[in-house]
Symmetry: C2
Subunit: 355 residues, 2 copies
Amino acid sequence: MKHNFGAGPCILPKEVFQEASQAVLDFDNTGLSILEISHRSKEFEAVVIETERLVRELLNVPHGYSVLFLQGGASQQFAMVPMNILPEGAKAAYLDTGVWASKAAKEAKKVGQVEVVASSSDRNYCYVPKGYEIPSDAAYFHFTSNNTIYGTEVFETPKASIPIVVDMSSDILSRNINVADYDLIYAGAQKNMGPAGVTLVIIKDDLFGKSGRTLPTIFGYEAHAKAGSMYNTPPVFSIYVSMLNLRWLKAKGGIAVIEQENIVKARTLYDEIERNPYFRGTADVADRSRMNVTFVMDTPELEAEFLALAKERNLIGIKGHRSVGGFRASIYNALSIGSINALVDAMQEFEEGKK
Amino acid sequence: MKHNFGAGPCILPKEVFQEASQAVLDFDNTGLSILEISHRSKEFEAVVIETERLVRELLNVPHGYSVLFLQGGASQQFAMVPMNILPEGAKAAYLDTGVWASKAAKEAKKVGQVEVVASSSDRNYCYVPKGYEIPSDAAYFHFTSNNTIYGTEVFETPKASIPIVVDMSSDILSRNINVADYDLIYAGAQKNMGPAGVTLVIIKDDLFGKSGRTLPTIFGYEAHAKAGSMYNTPPVFSIYVSMLNLRWLKAKGGIAVIEQENIVKARTLYDEIERNPYFRGTADVADRSRMNVTFVMDTPELEAEFLALAKERNLIGIKGHRSVGGFRASIYNALSIGSINALVDAMQEFEEGKK
């Protein structure tokens, strides 16, 4: 068995793969593949409705928010957010906590003015800035709740008098959030929601048309909301697999249960990193991510050796991103504590071998 | 066995479903699902490279064109085309041959000026306008090569001194085309290329940045071309299944072979429509589509009766679009002549039953 620590697209539950595989041959006893059914069929309409219902239920989405399934990932949201809610001449406020946060700001600058309120680039994004001011005259404030590359996470939602927009691509559905704290949440599905190819957007309806700009219909959130995410042909299979995965999460007990598991998984791994003299965490302790655990060696020459051992032990995808180096273990919802233990075992085996 | 005449997402070859189903469990003997592998893994990079190579080979794409796999379907191309190649103050020329052609023009109007050079709306789009003039001062000319709803197809590429853009969503890879006749070809995959969730764009490189507009990076073709369709996380599974389908097409003998089959399939069905006194084709004979065969009854009261018989005979998806009524048989590449014969048999059975 392989332990998939990849950063995304990433591990999903085995049961989901099995059901999805079956549906590619025969979807819901229709005698047709999920890949050949019409998106307008009553069978697929039921899938979209259930997927939306599960998102609403699991995240406890309040009244007055739309739940959309779009395409183009977070990268397309970097553009759609300002196009939809940044009026001509107005400015937006961005928090810079890494490559993706910075890209979001850079793309927004192609649409309007951007003020970066704080940045942790001074220490290679190993922490989350605090104590910054959010300008009350900005159209909105944007931040990234989990920084996949650097292994930091924002657990406390910034308070502001202006709309708050968050890119939750890599930690949505991994912990309890209060949706009402945000005005717009977006997330590429390919971490905890489903496979690549679909993007979740949860938007407060009063943001529709807020920028006053004339946009092609497909780039406005409202058309998608009105059409129940069927304005154009949706990514049928990616939505279907997301539904299977959300069903799995619900059957497990929902966010409260998965959050406890994620806390235990992260603690187990961080504890070993702290204990083991060969490894060292890269993120400040207070801001350590529960989804992406980044760590290096004090003796970088040994890193290749540990990677080789990891490979032998079927630990996949733990090479760190080039911006941080070392290792990154992405420990999303579907990764079991058993896989964490397998990694910890390998770290201890490595230590033993050096004695 | 079901005969899937759905308009799209639509039938793909059984072999493709089988291989795709297997890859959801174990992709390419990696021990991982195609749904959990990194898009940056060497295994998936090989998939993107092969998919592009197959498109280039099957369509004989000349040097100087980029082949891109994007998201958002033709609907997103309705916006991206003018954003990329319609300069501020310039106008674009559009041919109106149906709902989708008309939507393309409508969306372009949100970006710049549009001149509709001709329309067949006067006769509910049952023909393709001819003899119109394409203004040489327009930035480009746009048309739709196959009109899924109305069952018409443009077999002769319009000649113009300006760039030609074509929406080939529903007939790409079904017949021989000369790519050099076009400057930009786009197609939602979900007819003859693959499942929903990926969009094919074939663009002449000298169109990059042609509009001179400042665009969010993700909406410019050039960034996708430079990144080999990996500017952002691509729709992994939809590209993978497209590759399987293109392999199938190549193994069959490529476009020349499938085009002959499609000609025979269409002729067989149109012949029966002409022969059978209960049915009547809706499109002008010269412009009849080989992909979507639209027909009605002279006695509309009998249509429900034929639909019931079709259902009994496992003929799926033949109800016509509400704009035309009656029936529509979509007979894409993967639909066998056996399925055409099953439909013809049902039509004859219906006729017999009335004697």
